[in-house]
Each structure stands twice: as C-alpha cells, then as structure tokens.
Amino acid sequence: MKKWTLALAGAVIGVIAVLLTVLGNPGNMGFCIACFERDIAGALHLHSAEVVQYMRPEIIGLVLGAFLIAIAKKEFKPQGGSSPVTRFVLGFFVMVGALMFLGCPLRMVLRLGGGDLNAVVGLVGFVAGIGAGVFFLNKGFSLKRTYRQTIAEGAWLPVINVAFFALLVAFPSVLIFSTSGPGASHAPIWISLLAGLVVGAIAQRTRLCMVGGIRDVLLFKDWTLLCGFVAIIVVALIGNLIAGKFLFGFAGQPVAHTDGVWNFLGMTLVGFGSVLLGGCPLRQLILSGEGNADSSISVVGMLLGAAFCHNFKLASSGEGPTANGKIAVIIGLVVVTVIAVVYTFNKKKAKAETPAVPVA
C-alpha cells in the first residue's frame, strides 16, 4: 500500500467529515466512534443522558461498508477466539478514556483540523499511551492466537447493525432521540449512512488506523499508515477554513473541555488500550465488518463502556471532567497495565512449557 493511497484516503475522509458537520453534525464531529457509540447506547435506552441519544447511521455505515467491500473482495474471513473477554474489558476502558477526552482518536484528529489545541494535549497523551503499549508488544505481549470461526460468528455485528438501521427508519418510536445537545445535532439519516458506507469501505481497503499509524512509526519507522492520519488533519483544516468552522485556541471549542491533565490521561488510556487491542475504535468497527469476532466483542465493550460512562457520570462535558471520571480513568490505566503485564508474562511461561511444534 503506497503512502499516497493512504493520503488520498485520509483526504476523502477529511472532506466527508467536514461536510457532515456542515450538514448538521456537532462541531469537529463529522465522525467520532466514541461519541457515536455513546449516542447509540443512549438511543437504545442503555443510558439516560438526554443530550446524547441518537442512532448514528455513520456507525452502521462504517460496519456495513467494511462488510460489503470485504465480501466483494473475498476478505470476509470470520475469525476470533483471541482472549475475547479481555478484549471486552479493554474496549470498555478505551471508551472511558475517550469520553474523558471527549473523542476517539479519529475525532482527536478532526479536532486538530478544527484548530482545537486541547486535541494537541490529547495527541501527546495518545502517543504516550501507544508508546506504553509498544513497550509491552516488544516484551512479548499477545492476546493469544485467533482461529477461523463460522460465518454466523463473523456476521453477527453487521446483522445487528442492519437491525439498528431498520429500527431507525421503520420503528423510530422504540428508540430515544435527544431533542437538544450534541445528540440532536445530526446530518440527514441517508447522508450519514452513505458517509459511513464510503468511509467504512475506504478504511477496509487501506487499513487506515489512528493507532496503527503511530505504532508502525515506533515499531518499524514505517510512515505509510500515518500518512492517512496527517492527510485527515490537513484536509479537515482546509475544509473547516472554507466552511468558516475553524476556531483556533483552547477555550470555547465545540464538545470539548480545557482540562489539560485529563485530556492527556484520557487519551493515554485510549492509546494504551487500543495498541493492546490492535487498533483504534474505528479499526475495531472495520474489523468487525470483516468478520472479526474479537473486534465485535471490543465494540460491544465500548458500547457498554459508554453506557456506564453516562450512568455513573464518568463522561466529561464542555464544563470539564467529573470526579467519578477521573477515578475511572485511573482505574482504567491500572487495569490496562495489569492486562499488559499478565499477557506479557503468561506468554513467556507458556512458551517455556510447550516446545515449538512444527506442523505438516
């Protein structure tokens, strides 16, 4: 995969993200996997924060876009069985970190392109978290091998997303919709779905990943994936300037707060947890579309994590982080570190016990 392919992919995603904000999505939130999964959790009655409830078609589109292109390219390969419950826990705490910062890595990049300097602080924390994860990767971290699974196992998350879309268009009365706040700001349903489908397909073809870009630079000095990351920032920046949505500085940024320490630590948790999962929240959605049951479980962990974040007041708001949220992020950093240590240590022990067996 060439660097310019990734750059082009990033550019298209940047344009679509800015267009979605022009068409109604909240500021710097053309896409945010964390915020949108949180909105979906709200729409499904999993939490009752009235301002963040909406069945976001972008998420549905991302999964189904990746699913359809993977089928077309014969890359739909159901697999799983690599420490699913641990992945659930990691997904949960990645969401806790993201809702401390108020955005997944993709939204962090879009916030950078919108001139939000709080995202620079988040980025530094994100890189620190990825660095911690890479340290354990090099020491032997592994969530153990994955196995081929049945088609049903791989198809569940796409099927569930089709059901979500059916609820949204045919039976909206069973869902909850915000009447004010970020949850009430959204582009038209079919445009959001189309945007998700296109970006999902692009991300599947290019393996675009916010975490992978920085990880590959740290591991191999390979800048390919990072080109997509940079292109999104540059194009979102230009797009926001054209659309008159560029706002430079720390204060008054849309759906953001200015507490640097917790922006940093929130994204450290996201970066650390995501490296252990093998990809950012966007990437987990794309892999789910390709039939990866482990990623599907991570997505469910994030969805439930989002519900917890609002039910227990862990999520930040424009006013800043909450006391509960700070405690949860610290717990998250401890849990993720323990997981990293355990799966690094166990691996070596298993190696010592079972000699390598060649297979014919």
């Binding site: 995969m1 993977a70 890359e75 390969k77 697999q79 690599s82 990767l137 090099n138 020491k139 032997g140 971290f141 592994s142 969530l143 153990k144 091998r145 994955t146 196995y147 081929r148 599947q204 290019t206 393996r207 990943c209 992978g212 590959d216 591991l219 191999f220 390979d222 390919t224 994936l225 093998g278 990809g279 990437r283 892999l287 390709e290 691996k347 079972t354 390598a356 067996v357 060649p358 297979v359 014919a360």
Partner: protein
C-alpha cells in the same frame, strides 16, 4: 526462494526474526503487505534455499512464497490444528 511469514502477535514475529538470524538466514521485520492480509500486524520477509516447515513455530500464522512478485501460500495454521 523468498518467503513472507505472518504471525499471531508482534512478539511472534520478533522471535521468529531472532531465530532466523541465529541460523544466518537474512530477514526483515515489517508491516504485513496489504495484498496478503487486511489485518495490520507484523511479518518477517526472508529467503532460504531449504524448506520452511522446520522453521514453523506456534506463533506462525501463515508463510507465503514470493515468486516474481506474486505470493502463494506455503504454510497455513489458521484452521484449528490442535
């Protein structure tokens, strides 16, 4: 013959590269080429005149032959083989 081996973990790739270096087999650790996989892990590219089966360990997912710029599967451990 040139080969590319993919793994279940990054550490598996590192160990494999270390093992090859001990056996004086030239190798390079790098991201998995896109045409081989939609997953984004680490792989080891190496060349050897001997067979590759003896090199397979429990972290190896697949080994591909690289001939005239195209890949073909030499070893596949993705199916349940226990």
């Amino acid at each position: 013959m040139e080969y590319v081996a993919t793994f279940f973990s990054h550490f598996g790739a590192m160990q494999f590269a270390r093992k090859l270096k001990r056996e004086d087999i030239a190798c390079q650790i790098m991201p998995v080429p896109r045409q081989l996989s939609s997953s984004c892990g680490s792989c080891v590219k190496f060349s050897t005149k001997d067979g590759v089966l003896a090199l397979v360990d429990e972290e190896v997912e697949k080994i591909y032959r690289l001939e005239n710029g195209s890949f073909s599967v030499a070893v596949d451990r993705m199916e349940r083989d226990e």
